[in-house]
Symmetry: D2
Subunit: 283 residues, 4 copies
């Protein structure tokens, strides 16, 4: 699979909103990236596994006891943190958003600025969608043997360009793994040249692909079948009911049994027995 | 604290939407209940602790090895499940919503209908907001010594009325704890007569109260200060920026240090350096 | 239950070995305290729950985001750390024993000296069996509002005596909870006057009592029935087979189903089909 | 690394005891396999990571929501169960030993006979040291697409020989991965032909190798330097103090800081300030 897979989803949803804002969107569009099911599976649940897989396949690192800093505590960061904590790593979080930062606190992670821990951590993982989250100055201060990698949405989170200078030596030790060697002999292990670890060095489970593909197909069907006027030249979120439908199609995999509302209960809750079960803003 | 505390928040947000729908809302209103910070703290993080506390204070039950079914996998259910799983209970989930059901699967819980496990579980916990989630017929089939309690939003989730019949004996064994005794001697332990366990038998941390109170105060200030026309006679969610402000005020408690965007980064992300950092629909 | 309950088990096992060493033990004795089943239940599994319960009942503290240091990473410390980590606390460990310290690392806890974190932690919990683990000098440096308590084996782990001086004010705020007030107004919350939190402020589940009582009864029966000469005037560990028997009697509570060895498998492993299944030194 | 690596450690310790029992051991021997540090690292901590790694590299399976049965709840089984549970799998345990079974209960796993769950599980993992733990009859009843693998000590835990019959087709889909195809088209995925997954399809971290090698070297030094008569022609466990020394040498990796006993504390505990800190039977 192309390593541009996720990039394009996230990026395209941004582009759609920019086009819309600029009045240049000439058809109705569906932002499938932000449907609940797509978000949780592509990001939280998938990355919870691929961060471990990507690190193991490239470096064989032992997680137990390692100090790790995860930059960004969105869905991807939450998945990375949960997995690493569960396997005995000591995890720090950096955040710009106070809501996500407070969630990190409640989940048991110290929220720090990168500079506070840069000299002590064994691994840096970026999951921000931002650029230059790890700068050359910070890479200079990392420990010998430490690992730096990116789980975010582009290859700009780590300032890899700043490492392509004459005083540093690059040594490719295996596919997707470079040792960057400082003049004093210090080595920092850079994975996938700063591109997405989960796509470059791990795999996307077929289950996750199925959810994403189903979501896309349903969005297209909805746009095609919608009566004149339901959608204008704007960006829409997938209707809740379709999001729920995607989920329901995947429950059988787990032999999961849904409870059905009685007529009386549906009336009490003011809901249709077949859904949607939540308001649109519910996540 | 009054046991009506949470009830009213959730209920009032429902009433507001009903009034609005009926065209009877005569002032602008803010649905503070569904701000991110309020939701996560009052529900997820608070209940994660109060389910353990409420059960211990009333029954001294040991969690390790117990089989528990949690009805409803919203924020409250998620908190209950996470806490009980962490302490060695085996947890089953019931759900009507396929999205929440799929999340329960991915978090490691079997999704079942209540009747599939009713004879084997040691504890039933309701967190649905629905009524008659546990019926008399199901209570009849519970094991001797099993516990039934409610963490949802009213006292109708367990059909307690159906237990007030002549063939069953009620024995109050301590405050908030009744043994319901069947003719054959079987006892089911009912907590708080089916009212909210977290409010009747546990406490709400001052930290959570602070978040809720701050959210309310800011909502009122916003409504009061808003320029003419910003808010109509409708129900609004708290502006993202205020939600973030509430969170930022509480970060110092944890000695958490936020990272600030550089000018360059803010421009790249298309964000104001002071927030809001996420779209309104982000949860 | 008397708060001396555990104390006496641990203490008596020490006394037995001292008597034996001094040649003053005049009958055979069984060290039931160190049977596997007793150790794990009274210590690891029981304390994993009672640390949460004891803290909640006395202080209503919210665990999420709190910084906690646990002194001692034996069975009791392991239980405390696991529970607090699971509920979102950030936990540090102090240890004297490098084996236990290395286990703490692998389980995701930073191993520090108490002085490194004393100024930043919200809670100190002692589980060492040692004395003066928390000294007056350290109590002087704790934060305002921090909590100090003891889960170890006596009331000497925290140097409580050093707090009974004229410049400090004691204020009893509820049963088992004292605020110690420094001249500058700083308050430290001392639980159970430094005695065992799990016995003073929580409860011991009947399940754990059953295991302990069964272990004791079987030890007595073994000593009484043993043929002349099997036991000399020394201290013995409970025979593995009896330890296994205690466990097997308690499995039905959990509807747990043991697998039985085939004749062929028993022969392959060199085991009797009815146990014991492990060498005596196995823990 | 040879896939016989662990096998030989465990096996050799068994052989030593058999030789000793038969009076054929002609030199003193040290059972390094059962030193605490060796046991925990080679088994618990190492397998906690390699089970995930081995499954991912061979099958790319998603762990979330999968139903898994782990046969055997010793150190290896405990590691496998903890890791899979943490990543959202639903885990069942089979055991012959009631003590380990009771621990599995308290850690939140249902203890079942293999036949109770054979039709519903997605993955079977053997960690018993026994033979024929998974029989042909049971393999016949597994679901289409299910995975079977071995983390135990030899290649006999799964009855692989019984699968080499004419009615079944073997299809090698990648290195270490065979699809066994039943006449009706059902496929079971067999990893490493039933040999050790952790050695065949994952890696052993250098940190774990260092601990094992250090333990061995110290055992040899001890035997060589021991005064005449300290060791007879028997099997000995590594002296506690050496076990502690191995651990202390590895603490610096984690920047862990040990606490030192004061003279007063050492006297109170009856310990030498430099250890050993625990009795020999302590695990």
């Amino acid at each position: 699979m192309s390593r541009h897979y996720f990039h394009s989803y996230f990026q395209k949803s941004l582009w759609l909103y920019q086009l819309s804002k600029a009045g240049k969107l000439c058809v109705p569009a569906m932002n499938v990236n932000d449907s609940v099911t797509k978000q949780k599976f592509d990001n939280l649940y998938c990355c919870r596994e691929s961060i471990l897989d990507g690190l193991k396949r490239t470096t064989d690192v032992m997680f137990g006891g390692k100090q790790v800093v995860v930059c960004g505590y969105g869905e991807v960061g939450k998945g990375c943190c949960a997995a690493l904590k569960a396997l005995g790593a000591i995890v720090y979080v950096t955040e710009i958003d106070p809501i996500c930062a407070l969630q990190a606190c409640m989940d048991g992670f110290r929220v720090v600025k990168l500079n506070e821990v840069i000299r002590q951590v064994d691994v840096i993982i970026t999951c921000t969608g931002n650029k230059n989250v790890v700068t050359r100055d910070q890479l200079d201060r990392m420990k010998n043997g430490s690992i730096v990698c990116n789980m975010g949405h582009s290859n700009t989170e780590i300032d890899v360009a700043s490492l392509r200078t004459t005083e540093l030596t690059w040594e490719r030790v295996r596919s997707q793994v470079d040792h960057i060697i400082w003049p004093d002999g210090k080595r920092v292990i850079l994975l996938a040249e700063g591109r997405l670890l989960n796509l470059s060095c791990s795999t996307v489970p077929t289950f996750v692909l199925s959810i994403t593909a189903t979501t896309q197909a349903l969005a297209l069907i909805e746009l095609y079948n919608a009566p004149e006027g339901r959608y204008k030249q704007d960006v829409y979120l997938l209707p809740k009911k379709m999001d729920e439908y995607v989920a329901s199609l995947h429950l059988t995999t787990f032999d999961a049994h849904l409870t059905e509302l009685t007529d009386d209960q549906a009336k009490y809750l003011g809901l249709n027995k077949n859904g949607p079960f939540k308001p649109n803003y519910y996540r």
